[in-house]
């Protein structure tokens, strides 16, 4: 693997992780500002008020219950 391969893969990996963190913080939807429920500028503190994030967390919790 050449140096350029490592550089490109590193850039893609950083971008991938950044996107995953963003999704974790803000959810995967980008346009729920339309509903008036989200200002479109979610911070991690506001995450609790995002119905999509809250619901996804609840589903994950329910599906993960009892899973070791």
């Amino acid at each position: 693997m050449s140096l350029i391969d490592i550089v490109i893969l590193a850039v893609i990996a950083v971008a991938f992780v950044a996107v995953c963190i963003r999704i974790k913080r803000k959810g995967s939807c980008a346009d729920c500002a339309q509903g008036g429920a989200c200002g479109g500028h979610c911070s991690s503190a506001q995450r609790k008020s995002c119905p999509a994030c809250k619901g996804v967390d609840q589903v994950a919790e329910e599906l993960g219950r009892g899973v070791k």
Binding site: I4, A15, V19, C29, D31, P51
Partner: protein
């Protein structure tokens, strides 16, 4: 939040222009809909010109007696003690109805400024409003404004700041002397903890037997009994119930106010009324709606149409062969990136990841932007000009016939943009059964993310042929799915009951302001682009990894680099293993390949992923080399046209994306109901896909056991649709707002 901040609340009836005003003075671009119930939660932002002023946009309400969750949100905030001043937005073209809430807000004792919005329309109609007279009788400053045209707004803000300084000094209107007498007696029974300026408000609320208000002020048992005695005496004297007495009194005050401040122009039929005679006509209303939506989708996604021409240019030039501009030849984006990677000496693995994975996947989604843009320009115009509000009215007539409520159509209108706010908009439906049913069916309406799927299907099914009717068909498939599901579910014990009454004011037709029109379009298009570079970007990397890595002859690794691997190496990939394991589910639908199954699975992350995954898989398999265009290559993945249509129907109707599923969970407030909703959507989508494929095969002379199953399903659906509504289905159901309130919280 700074302690010195001035808190201004925007209150008013639904659809009176609060959010338009909020956007104008705060620079926000919150969604503005031309129908009631768009704002279901309060929104906050600071004033653009003065960061010390914090504005709160409240959901539109008709009164301070909460019957629905959004009314509770608004009243709770107004009575929380947080707002320093309330800007009561009043639709000046409909003074009488809007003043009802204004009177109640004045009664709260909060400093109030009345903003008579839509001044431009009042002027156009020839009516004259004496703001000084209205101000005197209402007991608060009154300012004429037009939030749409940005007139009078600076004066309004200045008045609000002045009013906030005069805290607690609010003059008030008076009711009939007998009622005033009872109210003043109730005021004396209130605990001393209730401040002087709020005593009238609580006296009126106790008179209306408002349980929330009684609980809030901790009225002693003894005093509560005395209050009840006073109310009962008054009811006997007036021969009416307390709530009706106060309502009557308020309207009497309003009638007196209107006499003194409004000079109406001679009655004549307005342009809106003339248009409505045709557009909302009992017979013509529905065909006109079908025609309009057919035109919208045909212009945006039809073969050789406006939007399609743009998408073709992007796909053929920007992501295809390259293009010429001002006599200069430019390479395509993949071509330029490939040239750069080869020159830099990048390995095959990296080239494959970048070109076949990221560029192919994200590029396929971005390629549909021209069609999205045209669709959203047209839909936003229909929303802003007032037509879509009429559609809700027209659809109410259709829905009611089948025991459904027109209220259920509002979330569906919102869902044409995104299913998440669509599901949230169901909060305005008071009846729990209707609300659950609407949550279950609202995501059948194709959202923006599903448009690329429709465009892909359209291209795959008809190519460049003139068949503009195909793409609108997929939109109407969603509408029909909603209506059919509604009818069928309403006849089950789970959802039976009378439909919720639906009352809405129809706004006047107007040409939308370019700013708000553009904001609508940009908001939706930018969200689409944002998703392409976030969730779709991440998904394409995962899909590329799952497609290029796998097990061949007992060894796991990068498949294209493995020795002796066949040309169709993707058949050994992880994705092929996963997709192949569950592909049998879709065999009766005509698409039991692991590729089609993989597209459906990735579509659950975000619906755009169906197209991104298709593009990625076709690039990896060199599909685009033999078929120069994605559409033809995609069509080649299916055995028949019926299978393509079945694939489309399944993906458009099955469970929505994770974000929308999360919202369904939050809105249902129950894991069981979420499972029912998602399960129903998937089962319904599968049955529709099955019927499409099997009936297509039947038409071409193929008959199998699945044909019998499809006929059995079709017969069951027809039976459930046409059988009379069971008698018990019309039994009155207890209207519950508690679950909705829970969902709001």
């Amino acid at each position: 939040m700074a302690a010195s901040q001035l808190h201004v609340a925007l209150a008013g009836n639904p659809n009176c222009g609060k959010t338009t005003l909020f956007n104008l003075i705060t620079g926000q671009n919150g969604y503005v809909g031309n129908w009631p119930g768009v704002t279901v939660e309060k929104k906050e932002a600071t004033l653009t010109r003065d960061k010390s002023v914090r504005i709160t946009d409240l959901p539109g309400i008709y009164s301070l007696s909460p019957y629905s969750p959004e009314e509770r949100v608004s009243r709770d905030y107004l009575m929380s003690g947080e707002p320093d001043v309330v800007i009561q937005v009043i639709d000046a073209t409909n003074l009488e109805r809007n003043l009802y809430l204004a009177l109640q807000v004045v009664e709260t004792g909060l400093p109030v400024v009345a903003a008579l919005n839509m001044a431009d329309l009042v002027e156009k109609s020839g009516d004259k409003i004496d703001t000084a007279a209205l101000s005197k009788s209402l007991g608060c400053p009154v300012v004429m404004i037009s939030a749409l045209r940005n007139t009078g707004v600076d004066e309004l803000i200045a008045e609000a700041k002045r009013a906030a300084a005069t805290k607690g000094n609010v003059p008030r209107h008076t009711f009939d002397s007998a009622i005033e007498d009872v109210l003043s007696k109730i005021e004396t029974l209130l605990p001393s903890s209730v401040s002087a300026e709020k005593r009238l408000y609580y006296a009126v609320k106790l008179f209306e037997r408002d349980e929330d208000a009684a609980r809030l002020i901790n009225l002693t048992k003894d005093n509560a009994a005395k209050v009840e005695q006073l109310i009962a005496q008054c009811e006997a004297d007036c021969d009416d119930d307390a709530e009706s007495i106060i309502t009557g009194e308020r309207y009497a005050v309003i009638a007196h106010m209107i006499d003194g401040c409004l000079k109406r122009a001679p009655e004549r039929m307005s342009t809106s009324e003339k248009i409505d005679r045709i557009v909302t006509n009992r017979i013509l209303g529905l065909p006109i709606f079908i025609l309009v939506m057919w035109a919208v989708y045909a212009i945006a996604t039809g073969a050789n149409a406006f939007g399609t021409a743009g998408t073709d240019w992007v796909n053929d030039n920007l992501f295809g062969e390259g293009f010429e501009l001002f006599g200069q030849t430019f390479p395509s984006i993949p071509g330029a990136i490939e040239g750069w990677l080869v020159a830099a000496g990048a390995s095959d693995l990296v080239q494959s990841l970048v070109l076949d994975g990221i560029v192919a996947g994200v590029g396929a989604v971005l390629g549909f932007i021209p069609q999205m843009f045209v669709l959203f320009v047209l839909l936003s115009f229909l929303e802003d000009c007032g037509y879509m509000a009429r559609v809700a009215f027209v659809m109410d007539r259709v829905f009611r016939r089948f025991g459904l409520s027109g209220k259920s159509f509002i979330p569906m209108l919102v869902s044409t943009g995104c299913g998440v706010p669509g599901v949230l908009a169901t909060k305005t439906i008071e009846n729990e059964k209707d609300r659950r049913m609407t949550v279950m069916t609202t995501t059948f309406i194709p959202c923006g993310a599903k448009l690329p799927i429709i465009a892909l299907l359209m291209g795959a099914m008809v190519g460049d042929a003139e068949a503009a009717w195909i793409s609108p068909l997929f939109y109407f498939l969603g509408v029909i799915a909603v209506i059919a599901s509604g009818i069928m579910l309403k006849k089950t014990k789970l959802f039976a009951g009378r439909p919720t009454p639906f009352v809405m004011e129809l706004p006047s037709y107007h040409f939308p302001s370019i700013r708000s029109w553009w904001l609508h379009v940009w908001e939706r298009v930018s969200a689409y682009i944002k998703k392409a570079f976030t969730i779709i970007f991440a998904s394409t990397i995962v899909v590329w990894f799952l497609t290029n890595f796998g097990v061949y002859e007992g060894a796991f690794g990068f498949l294209p680099a493995m020795e002796g691997i066949p040309e169709e190496f993707t058949d050994y990939s992880v994705l092929a293993m996963v997709g192949g394991a569950i592909a049998f589910i879709f065999a009766p639908l005509g698409f039991d390949t692991w590729q089609a199954t993989a597209m459906s699975i990735t579509g659950l992350v975000a619906k755009e992923n169906v197209v991104a995954t298709a593009s990625s898989l076709l690039h990896i398999a060199d599909g685009t080399e033999t078929d120069p265009n994605l559409w033809a290559a995609f069509a080649g993945m299916f055995p028949t046209m019926g299978a393509i249509a079945a694939f489309g129907a399944f993906n458009l109707l099955c469970a929505p994306c994770f974000a929308a599923m999360g919202t369904i969970r939050a809105q249902m407030n129950s894991g069981k109901w979420t499972a029912i909703a998602i399960g129903y959507e998937c089962a319904f989508a599968w049955v529709v896909g099955l019927m499409i494929n099997q009936f297509y095969l039947l038409a071409t002379g193929v008959f199998s056991v699945w044909t019998v199953v499809a006929i059995a399903f079709a017969a069951a659906i027809v039976f459930q649709l046409v059988r009379p509504m069971p008698k018990w289905a019309w039994e009155d159901d207890k209207v519950s707002t508690s679950a909705a309130a829970g969902a709001v919280a």
